[in-house]
Amino acid sequence: MKFKESLFKFIALFAALCSVIFLFGIILSIFKEGYPIFKIYGVIKFLFTTSWHPTHEEPTFGILALIVGSLVVTIGSLIIGIPLGVGSAIYLSEIAGFKTREILKPFVELLAGIPSVIYGLFGMAFLAPFVMRLFNLSTGLNAFTTSIILGIMVVPIIASISEDAISSVPNELREASYALGANKWETIYKVILPAAKSGIYASIILGFGRAIGETMLVLMVAGGSAIIPKSIFSPVRPMTATIAAEMGETVVGSDHYHALFGIAIVLFIITFVSNLITETIKRKVMRSQNL
């Protein structure tokens, strides 16, 4: 009996530790395969030069253009995603009637689950030709089109989590605000949004993480030029797309192979840091709610 008890606990502990093991496995494997490029090519040169010619006779592995490519489409998508997502969340939780909300909230959650490859298909086959004709461009596969689709993709994520944050603001605050003579918008803007601030930030950072880590969509839509874009209509080559497109063609164990894992390290660090920020915000919220 006693044995069964402790066995059960041990299994549970082991299962919980698996996450730690997997995380370390991931870190270990990408660092093991990616570290050589830092030694061969130099960290500074790898990160801060723009020449990405990995298959050239004298290959160059500067990923700055890839990092910029990732950032451009991510920021672009947030410019679209934040106002739409947060705006929708405010409407859903503060303005919409009970019925509208009961229908729309699940709808938004449903949309958050659409596979990104389908967004990619839509972007490639429908939006890109449309954008090309509209702005008279040489290609519709560019940072602008990518930002739009990526933006549409992160709206449900930002909206759903912001909505949770806004509706968890206690009703007393609203009532107090109205009692002081504030109108609806003043209450939302001066009382509710500040109170839900952390949750909204967390949703934005989560959207950021999803956008910068997104692979299939940018692989299909971003165009793929490894240059620092001159305008938002330039094609870009985000980091994730580079890994997905080139991993198959490279010789295992070559410098190029290590460089692709090097990109994975950079990606991992970016998402890790953005995650830590979310964590810190969440902890702060919990602490302030306990008070």
Partner: protein
């Protein structure tokens, strides 16, 4: 002053409403487009046949089956692991360094880009463990990807079981293990299932993790072993869009595949949402 305040309020409230309308409009255009273009090729034979004539005709049956196998094995691996981890975190763990580490690890895993999971699966399962490109490698990779979702959902579910239930079990002389397996888990089961179902939807739609670990471009054979490689719906869409030589015939098939995948994922999520709403209504404690 009052006029200005009211004007200000009206403007902003309209803007917020527009934000929601635009979001919904965008998403509706997106969904309608996919369904409109994809439903043209949908038919019973599209669902039950293998691709034919250089993938310009026929159906997507091997891809549907492949995705099905991948998802089943993924959930077989991830569900017990996730539920046990949640049991540890909510029933056994005491606040401290260990729990913080575990939680940080789970949250970090949740944020790792899917392509990085793909690289990990390639390096570890395909190459190091020698499983090759197979259902097994793909499912293990996907299992790690959805593990955080399952753990979080299960933990939430277990937390909603009132303490009085546990105390009642203890009072009847049940051990901790018995309390968990006989009282806590059955009570939390519907919510755990909701989480599991949502993660099934996620696993079915992921492409990047199976790109190097499980997916194949074309096979007619239905998998007979977990060491077989398979076609998969999301990869099929990608492959048709980028590697096909006959866009005129293949793009419609890609749309058709997208509709099938979309219906699969949306209906799975819909089931989860319905279960959750039912539970919310029924809950009386």
């Amino acid at each position: 002053m009052r006029m200005k305040r009211r004007l200000n309020q009206t403007t902003w409230l309209i803007l917020v409403r527009i934000a929601l309308l635009i979001s919904i409009l965008f998403l509706l255009i997106f969904l309608v487009m996919i369904f409109a273009k994809g439903s043209k090729v949908l038919s019973l034979s599209f669902l039950t046949q293998a691709p034919k004539e250089g993938m310009t005709a026929g159906g997507i049956f091997p891809a549907i089956l492949g995705t099905f196998y991948l998802v089943i094995l993924t959930i077989i691996v991830a569900l017990p692991l996730g539920v046990f981890a949640a049991i540890y975190l909510s029933e056994y763990a005491k606040p401290g360094y260990l729990v913080n580490t575990i939680r940080t690890a789970i949250n970090t895993l949740a944020g790792v880009p899917s392509i990085v999971f793909g690289l990990f699966g390639l390096a570890i399962f395909v190459n190091l463990f020698g499983f090759g490109v197979s259902i097994l490698s793909g499912s293990l990779t996907l299992a790690i990807l959805i593990l955080p979702i399952i753990i979080n959902a299960s933990e939430e579910a277990i937390k909603t079981v009132p303490d009085s239930f546990r105390q009642a079990a203890y009072a009847l002389g049940a051990t901790k293990r018995q309390t968990i397996t006989k009282v806590v888990l059955p009570t939390a089961l519907p919510n755990i299932l909701t989480g599991a179902i949502i993660s099934v939807g996620r696993a079915a739609g992921e492409t990047a993790p199976i790109l190097f670990t499980a997916a194949t471009f074309y096979t007619r054979k239905l998998p007979t072993s977990i060491l077989d490689e398979v076609m998969a719906l999301p990869y099929h869409i990608y492959a048709l869009m980028t590697e096909g030589t006959a866009p005129r015939e293949q793009v419609p098939i890609a749309y058709g595949t997208a509709v099938v995948l979309l219906l699969l994922v949306l209906s799975v999520n819909l089931v989860a949402i319905i279960i959750r709403y039912r539970i919310r209504k029924r809950k009386k404690w």
